[in-house]
Amino acid sequence: MIEWTGVIVQGVLLGGLYALFAAGLSLIFGVMRLVNIAHGDLIILAAYMGLTTTVMLGVHPFLALLIVMPVMAGLGYVLQRGILNQTLGDDILPPLLVTFGLSVIIQNALLETYTADPRKLDGGGIEVASIDLGGLAIGVLPLMTFLIAVAVIAGLQFVFYRTALGRGFRAVSDNQDIAQLMGLNKAHVFGLAMALALAVVAIAGILLGMRTSFDPAIGGGRLIFGFEAVIIGGLGNLWGTLAGGVILGVAQTIGAKIDPGFQILAGHIAFLIVLAVRPNGLFPRVDH
């Protein structure tokens, strides 16, 4: 029994990482109805930025966040205002095509720069450390990841519902023209939303890089996990995203327990079941 409890706890904690993958996607879709196909590759880009920072400065990956987060946020703002804003309109195809192209470009740039060899961020031992809870060993890094995910989602929730910036996000999401009448320049607001999303991506990338080895090709898989968590949780609901991540994580660890080759498939099956039963996800957004 304790064995299965352990499996479920692991799954829940893994869900924290997936929620971090998903939060940025959900935020961007919520504010500007943009589906960012390059999201997973941006996570991997952040992991590589973390690698370069830790190697060059000899600092812990968590400290590297002080550099990677602002750089990713700045990149997000420039990317949005320079390219993505031009693709937004009545037609949903251009942003899909452009972010798909971006995904290919990022992968190739990473391949050129870092080769295809798997790399890992050195967490200085916290990757293998664990605490014992009544016979249940809980990994320190997964636990930290989960707590960080909760904090990030709570923070995003605060920004969205308690600050002028969040009010602007919601207003632009509701009605771009009228928001513009209120003095909100939507190009700038979208830039800020992407900056915020990529700051979260930076955190996700660093945590991913400490947890597992990564190479330039794995972004697509992270995108899928993020998508699944968003859809399971219900579009536009940040806490739902965390729930979605947890459900996906638990399904995967249970699958892996049954058969190691079954991990990813089990996650997809859980996703399909939720989609079949609740097409809008478990906690779809309610206005206000």
Binding site: D174, D177, G183, H288
Partner: protein, 235 residues
């Protein structure tokens, strides 16, 4: 009185369709202008052009002497023009109070604050935490007006603020108007109800199929003039 807004040869298009043809108009500081016209005459299009939601040639719209025709709506808002849009158009995911607060986003100084709006429309203070969509039509219109006032504009544009409201609510909203323009605000009021429009305005423009068919001081235009200009009958 100095000119606040000047339109010269304003054209407006939706794709291939031309909705406004060379409008010339002047609005002086402190005036209340009524814009009347049949459905589809171009009144809303005019409001959208002035507020920057529709792009025009830069010099077609001058505000305080500055060409603003090609500015974005947010830039126009910052210069002090606010629009109460047709159909209220509140933000559904914002509460009543948040809708008002976002109106103050441009951060212009002046008489209007959350307090002043609540004093004008006390019911909104009672409902401030509610979703804006949960209000009655008249209350929503009050939010839309309050939201525009929060910007402390020099020029406020009202597009059919009485549309779909009960007469008693319309009266309540129009009763509030003197308190609004009394603060030195210049206003343009689009209204289907001609009597109502004339009762609050000092000058009137009538639009017909995208052209000005009549202009004059409210006291000086006759009923027959207006009927002719409104329906396009020969005089």
């Amino acid at each position: 009185m100095p000119e606040l807004l000047e339109l010269s040869g304003l054209d407006a298009h939706y794709g291939d369709f031309q909705a406004l043809y060379g409008l010339d108009m002047t609005v002086r500081e402190g005036e209340v202008i009524a814009i009347i016209g049949a459905n589809g005459a171009g009144k809303t299009t005019l409001m959208r052009s002035i507020s920057g939601l529709l792009k025009n040639r830069s010099e077609d719209v001058r505000y305080k002497g500055q060409p603003i025709g090609a500015l974005r709506a947010d830039q126009v808002a910052e210069l002090g023009i606010a629009l109460v849009p047709e159909g209220r158009q509140l933000f559904p995911s914002l509460s009543v109070e948040e809708n008002l607060l976002i109106g103050g986003k441009v951060g212009r100084e002046g008489h209007w604050s959350l307090r002043a709006v609540y004093d004008l429309f006390p019911i909104l203070e009672e409902r401030k935490r509610q979703a804006s969509t949960s209000l009655s039509g008249g209350q929503q219109q009050m939010v839309a007006i309050g939201r525009a006032l929060m910007a402390n504009p020099d020029l406020i544009l009202f597009d059919e603020i009485s549309l779909g409201l009960a007469p008693v609510v319309i009266r309540q909203i129009y009763d509030a108007l003197p308190g609004i323009v009394g603060q030195g605000m210049t206003a343009m009021i689009v209204e289907q109800d001609i009597t109502k429009a004339l009762s609050v305005s000092s000058r009137v423009y009538c639009l017909q199929e995208g052209r000005i068919s009549l202009e004059g001081a409210t006291g000086e235009v006759s009923h027959e003039d207006i009927t002719a200009a409104y329906f396009g009958m020969d005089t």
